[in-house]
Symmetry: C2
Subunit: 270 residues, 2 copies
């Protein structure tokens, strides 16, 4: 058997999320269908993690196993000729069988893009940003600091998944201007993320940026371990899984993310 | 009566083009509906020109008339609060009643964006580029020169519109890198454009860039005045109406287009 690692980008708008579901269009489903068209038999694709409906990816990682006779297939070319336009393979790399996209992941980076202008909107950004209007980024910067380090993120976890621990570590949390002057990107790197945790953290920070909560409220929200105490979840479309890191790779947030992008010839984040 | 001039951006993906059509979703239709919600009575919106289904705009110009009591309405804010997310008013300006968005237009600029990479694709660009793969831009540059100046563009006009003359003047035709490293933008400025003329010119240039026709073939195609002699029409989604210019404004292509963008706070072309 040969294991193949994929770096995948997708536009989540028309997908019911990553994970395979009967009779629904999912990214995993489209990948498995395309791989099976090459090998002639069903294949299971393992992703580094799920994304919800409407959430995008620039650096989702997945792997699958094929018989040795398919090891020499040019998988990037083969899959990109079969996949629909809203999912693309940025790289396909033969790896050893002890690589596992989910179990070996050390860090993950997500970006969330906010639209800050009230007077107008660029229509082609509607599936990729949250229209927030003006925000107080001095307050948001302060709020972001409280998320750094190891915390129990129960207050920022939506229910619906069985997990052993709600403790996660945020290694890095930064913000930078987006591709348009009216946009700001929040980029968070952590050991892992609970269900809708990035969207819940973003919802909390936007509430702070609107002056409806104090930056210090993050500390008490973390201590309360109660989802109902925290502000509402940010909408899906602003979120993008930017990168997944393995082994010795640093977290590095933007830098690592951008280096990875350059490797695959991609000059842009969403 | 007060005449209002609008600068409008839209994402053409989910519209059946600009022009009002019964039971179809059109940009003109959405604008008229929103204006009528403010004034309480039907309003006619006049655009500088039509765009086809799937074609975008960053600088479409339109005008409409309202009774004097609506002259003080903050039209940009009012319309943007009523319009759907895929159309936005970048500016709304009270103008004198001798301004006409179509009859007064002196130049128009369109951009067409090509995707040049065969191995992968950025999924969120699927509605805004034509996936061409690698092209010979030295040949395309030569071909572009033949379009400059005054010509009978019958060979580059699709049928379906009654017009007096098929003679148009191309003032400027340039290309520059797009928002991603894998993209190239063609920008054409002219006195006016026949039906699908920009898409037909682009289709011809891509054929030249693929080595399937010589740059010099443009000259003979113009002379033949026969649409069936020229290559196929480029797809709608790569095209964007970038700007419309009136009176003393120069053509200026990119510069004019970008200045206009900056005026309205927009830092990006599609």
């Amino acid at each position: 058997m040969q294991r193949i690692k994929l770096i995948i980008a997708y536009d989540g708008t028309d997908f019911c999320g990553w994970q395979l579901q009967p009779n629904l269009r999912t990214v995993q489903g489209e990948l498995e269908k395309s791989i099976a068209r090459v090998t002639g038999s069903p294949v299971r694709v393992h992703g580094s993690g799920r994304t919800d409906s409407g959430v995008h990816a620039l650096g989702q990682i997945a792997h699958f196993d094929v018989e040795d006779r398919f090891a020499s297939v040019l998988w990037q070319r083969a899959l990109n000729s079969l996949l629909p336009d809203d999912v693309t393979v940025l790289q396909a790399i033969p790896v050893s069988s002890d690589f596992h996209s989910r179990y070996n992941a050390v860090h993950k980076t997500y970006t969330y893009t906010l639209w800050l202008e009230n007077n107008f909107f660029l229509p082609w950004r509607r599936h990729y940003v949250w229209k927030c209007g003006p925000l107080d980024f001095e307050a948001i910067d302060k709020g972001m600091q409280y998320f750094l380090g190891e915390h129990d993120f129960s207050s920022f976890q939506n229910t619906g998944t069985l997990i052993k621990s709600t403790v996660r570590t945020i290694h890095d949390f930064k913000r930078y201007p987006g591709q348009n002057a009216q946009e700001m990107v929040l980029e968070i790197c952590g050991s892992g993320f609970l269900k809708q945790m990035v969207r819940n953290i973003t919802g909390c920070l936007v509430t702070i940026g609107r002056g409806k909560a104090k930056p210090e409220s993050v500390r008490s929200l973390l201590q309360m371990k109660d989802r109902t105490a925290a502000p509402a979840t940010a909408p899906a479309q602003g979120l993008c899984m930017a990168g997944v890191y393995y082994g010795d790779e640093g977290c590095g947030g933007t830098d690592t993310g951008r280096n990875q992008s350059q490797d695959s010839g991609v000059g842009e984040q969403i």
